[in-house]
């Protein structure tokens, strides 16, 4: 068996250099990739109840879940997209049906839904959001609040046509 003339050190250096180049964005892609689609977060789908009804607000409100929905590639805002939202709040647990609701994006691709104050559950104050309507790839998000005292939480979707 003949030994390769490429030493291990050369390979390591070449690998590290290519990694650095890729990370720093110095490579020129064959075509402009545009806006990358959002990938689902770990645990995002936990306690999901498909088909939550579109509501004016979940429970008594007082806390604002908001964000934007855009199309992958060109970043165009998407109107009328249904976003489902749920969390452990002052009014119910994540699993309870009354903790779930849905809303639609406006012409600017913006959605807002009032809901009860999110309280820490399973160690973190967090919310859940889902896009699961079929026209685009399904995405589950699980944003975490900076502070349990926050009165709002944002989450943004970039959707890939299915």
């Amino acid at each position: 068996m003949s030994h390769s003339r490429l030493g291990r050190r050369t390979l390591m250096l070449a690998g590290a250099a290519s990694l650095l180049t890729a990370k720093s964005g110095l490579t020129v892609p064959a075509r402009a990739q545009g806006l990358q689609p959002t990938t689902s977060m770990r645990g995002g789908a936990n306690n999901y109840r498909p088909g939550a009804p579109i509501v004016d607000r979940i429970g008594g409100g007082g806390f604002l879940m908001h964000g934007t929905v855009r199309r992958a590639g060109d970043g165009a805002p998407l109107e009328g997209v249904r976003i489902q939202i749920w969390a452990h709040t002052t009014e119910g647990r994540e699993r309870d049906a009354r903790s779930h609701g849905a809303t639609l994006t406006n012409a600017d691709g913006v959605f807002e839904l009032e809901m009860p104050q999110i309280v820490p559950a399973f160690g973190q104050p967090h919310g859940h959001l889902a896009y699961d309507s079929g026209a685009f790839e399904t995405v589950f998000l699980r944003p975490v609040m900076d502070s349990a005292r926050d009165a709002s939480l944002a989450a943004h979707f970039v959707l890939q046509p299915a």
């Binding site: 645990g43 936990n46 306690n47 309280v119 559950a121 160690g123």
Partner: protein
């Protein structure tokens, strides 16, 4: 009151305070009103387990004043059983509260780092308990057994303290930090006292 008495009173009083304050703070947490009874019980089982971790090494090494080591070891075995039951209640209670979150944690797929620490601590606890169960069978030399048990115990403490500190729950931040620091100090002090690495390797020249 002699100096010895005073030392015992301070030591036992200090331990009781370190344990009781976090429990009292948790019992008054505003989050309890938003949780069901099983979730609340599971949370307190975790706090009880952390509290047991504080006394467990001290009992085993006979470092508590006015408690002979023989009696300490007996208590250590029973409190070890309490620890196992508390962690079982913690895991089962949280599983009932939110099955997908607990399944994610147990399979190391959870998004939260404290879940990883919690599950690592649970496995370390099972290892320590298993060692305790086979101690009398003498499959391991006493020195090797002791080193293994202390090693598992150290993993339990390191993982549990990390788990507790990263969690935003019912325990007060300050009292939780104090209890965690005490748990860590109790372990380090005990390990330093018993030096479990002694005699683990057989001496080269010994004739057996």
């Amino acid at each position: 009151m002699t100096l010895k008495h005073l030392r015992a009173v301070i030591a036992w009083g200090g331990l009781a305070t370190l344990i009781m304050i976090p429990i009292a703070v948790a019992a008054n947490s505003e989050y309890l009103q938003y949780r069901g009874p099983i979730y609340i019980a599971a949370g307190f089982a975790g706090i009880v387990a952390l509290a047991v971790l504080l006394v467990q090494p001290l009992l085993a090494a006979g470092l508590l004043p006015r408690l002979p080591i023989q009696l300490g070891r007996v208590v250590h075995r029973w409190s070890g059983l309490v620890l196992l039951l508390a962690i079982a209640a913690h895991v089962v209670g949280l599983w009932i509260t939110s099955p997908p979150d607990m399944i994610d944690a147990l399979t190391f797929r959870a998004p939260t780092l404290f879940s990883v620490f919690g599950v690592v601590g649970m496995w370390a606890l099972l290892a320590a308990a298993l060692l305790a169960a086979i101690r009398k069978k003498r499959w391991l030399r006493p020195q090797v057994w002791r080193f293994s048990h202390v090693f598992a115990a150290s993993a339990i403490v390191a993982a549990s303290v990390s788990h507790a500190m990263l969690i935003e729950g019912t325990m007060g931040a300050l009292s939780k930090a104090a209890l965690c620091a005490a748990v860590l100090c109790a372990l380090i002090w005990t390990v330093w006292q018993v030096k479990p690495w002694r005699g683990v390797r057989r001496r080269q020249n010994s004739r057996r």
